[in-house]
Amino acid sequence: MMAAIPNGVIAETVGSRGVVRVRGEVDLSWSQEVRRAILDALASGHPVAVDLSAVDYIDSSGIAALVEGLQRARERRQPFVLVAVSAPVRAVLELARLDGVFTLAASADEAFAAP
């Protein structure tokens, strides 16, 4: 059995984009940290990509943090993209019928490439 990924969220700025990397299992115990990191990244005014490739599990409070980020970004007309969404996250988004609401991209580069 694979070792569990430790929970964590890292926000960095790459060029003119904010990237929020989340890993582990997002649940009620720390989803507020994820929410804070996303809102902080958006506060910088940059386009924001949330990298979910290392997320093994996400509950409704984690999804709520993503939804809040999306709503905040829309208000400010900031691009907000979910990047490299892992299968467990995708399954929950589908279950919540939110998979069509978010912009999904394979990578941050793809997400912000000129259309």
Partner: protein, 567 residues
């Protein structure tokens, strides 16, 4: 002070009668061997009453002509075994009239029957006889002959004899009742032994990946019904359900014969039709007493869930697939009626379905309107337990039939994929209401669900549902107070997974728990919607006194990967 070695009654006639009676009563009441005690009683009466001879007669309760027989005597001649007709002689008259008889002068009294004297050279001069009276009438008589002092017996002698006869009658009566009780107990023990022997013929329930389960309920002590299951070549499992006509011991003995025959022919690997043909010919060759045997025989291959069966006078078989029932009428006459009969074979792919067979004890049960349930009625009762393990469904069906009143032996048998038979606790955990505990709980649930063969995608969704439910309890139930507790129980009942989450938080109003529509882009409040999307059914039960909630989630897991059962 000197003590006499045995405090025997006074040898002086009439004196010390109270002490004598007290001692006699006690000896009779405490008697372990009534024959010995009665002999001692008669000896003492002889001594106490100062008579030449004394004898005790008992009414013969056995078959044949009614008679009063001398069972115990004391004196110069042995008249034991002497039988008198009712009313014959003084003894017969004492019994017939239930009154003390006194004969002062035997030579001139017409009541006296003198054959005894003639044969033994003994001369009866005077006699007294008291009936052994019980609530149900006299059971015999106590007689004394000839006073030692040569005087005739007087009415005082008769009364005294009557008083002595009373405890003797009581003791004999008690002993007889005890004997009858003992006989009843012996019969009951033998019956119980036969019943246990018969039940021991039924195979034990097999667990862990076994496709056949059956229950049997005799209407009386002994059963004419039976079932069997056993391994056959190639991993197949043979099964038998049988019903011998009639009830009671005769039917039970035929059941033993039929069950053995069907087992051994089946084990030889015969096809179901041939299996019945051979059993029929064998039963027809045996003693014919008008009894016959209805039977269903077949086998199931657990690897392919292909089932083949044949029936002889047995009610139709029901096959349930996804809640729909098909009826299979398998032809063929009951066994033991006509040699050379042929039987049809039915072959079907059971898949994830369940085959139900039942003896006519089930279909003959009356519904509330008094009409027999029939196959349709049994099917209706079965449909109510859909989704549960076959063993639980058979038990529920049997309970429903018993509530309506079983009048005949009843056997129920189910064949289903091995995975469907499993049941029991999958996981039991208790955590404090702290979100930090959720990750470990999810891990334990994943492991447990994987172990029972729930596929990975469904497993993740169920983990999510439980996690969301716990999060709701932590946030809304306990308001974030981590001192509260959450109990998780995951049970499997056949194809149904039942998840129960219990807390001690203030009761939630079930009306407040309405899942919000999914797909709405909102920040929260869709935990319950996720739960609703994952499970088939959920409900909230409130605890007593405004505290405590039980959230029950149910999910059918049939059709998903069936793991090897390691029960």
């Amino acid at each position: 002070m000197s003590m006499s070695p045995a405090s025997l009654p006074s040898p002086v006639r009439g004196s010390g009668s109270l002490a004598f009676l007290a001692e006699l009563s006690q000896a009779l009441a405490l008697s372990l061997d009534l024959d010995v005690t009665l002999q001692q009683t008669v000896d003492r009466v002889l001594d106490f009453m100062q008579a030449e001879a004394a004898s005790l007669f008992l009414v013969d309760e056995g078959s044949g002509a009614p008679a009063i027989e001398c069972r115990i005597c004391a004196g110069p001649i042995d008249v034991r075994g002497l039988r008198l007709a009712p009313g014959q002689g003084v003894v017969g008259r004492a019994v017939a009239e239930n009154r003390i008889q006194i004969v002062a002068d035997a030579a001139s009294d017409p009541r006296v029957w003198r054959d005894v004297d003639r044969s033994g050279g003994f001369v009866t001069r005077s006699l007294a006889c008291a009936p052994l009276a019980t609530a149900a009438g006299p059971i015999g008589a106590l007689e004394i002959i000839n006073r030692l002092d040569g005087q005739p017996f007087c009415s005082d002698d008769g009364e005294l004899l009557g008083v002595i006869a009373a405890p003797a009658a009581l003791a004999i009566n008690n002993a007889r009742m005890a004997g009858r009780l003992l006989e009843q107990q012996r019969l009951k023990r033998e019956f119980e032994l036969a019943r246990r022997l018969q039940r021991s013929l039924l195979p034990r329930r097999r667990r862990g990946g076994y496709p056949v389960v059956a229950v049997n309920r005799p209407a009386h002590e002994m059963s004419g019904d039976f079932y069997d299951h056993f391994e056959l070549a190639g991993g197949r499992i043979g099964f038998v359900a049988g019903d011998v006509s009639g009830k009671g011991m005769d039917a039970a003995l035929l059941m033993v014969r039929a069950a053995s025959l069907l087992r051994w022919i089946g084990k030889e690997g015969a096809s179901p039709a041939t299996w019945l043909e051979r059993a029929n010919d064998e039963l027809c060759a045996g003693p014919r007493d008008g009894r016959f045997v209805c039977a269903l025989v077949g086998w199931c291959d657990p690897a392919t869930m292909q089932v083949v069966f044949a029936a002889a006078g047995f009610p139709p078989v029901l096959v349930e697939r996804e809640g729909r029932f098909d009826e299979y009428r398998a032809g063929g006459p009951p066994l033991g009626i006509a040699a050379g009969a042929a039987f049809d074979e039915t072959r079907l792919d059971l898949g994830t379905g369940t085959l139900f067979a039942f003896s006519d004890g089930a279909t003959d049960v009356r519904d509330h309107g008094g009409a027999p349930l029939g196959v349709a009625g049994v099917r209706e009762l079965l449909a109510r337990g859909g989704g549960r393990a076959p063993a639980a469904r058979l038990r529920t069906l049997l309970a429903a039939l018993r509530r309506r009143g079983l009048v005949d032996d009843t056997t129920l048998l189910a064949v289903a994929p091995p995975g469907a038979q499993a049941g029991g606790m999958v996981l039991e955990r208790w955590i404090t209401a702290d979100a930090a505990n959720l990750r470990a709980l999810r891990g334990a649930l994943r492991t447990a669900l994987d172990a029972i063969g729930v596929d990975a995608a469904l497993c993740e969704r169920l983990v999510l549902a439980v996690d969301e439910a716990c999060a709701n309890i932590i946030r809304h139930g306990y308001g974030g107070d981590p001192r509260g507790g959450i109990g998780l129980k995951v049970r499997r009942d056949g194809a149904l997974l039942v998840i129960e989450l219990a807390d001690q938080a203030p009761c939630a109003d079930p009306a407040d728990l309405r899942p919000r529509p999914l797909g709405e882009c909102r920040q929260g409040g869709f935990g319950l919607a996720l739960i609703d999307a994952v499970v088939d059914d959920w409900r909230l039960e409130n605890g007593p006194g405004g505290r405590g909630n039980r959230l029950i989630l149910e999910k059918r897991i049939a059709g998903h990967r069936q793991a090897e059962e390691n029960e």
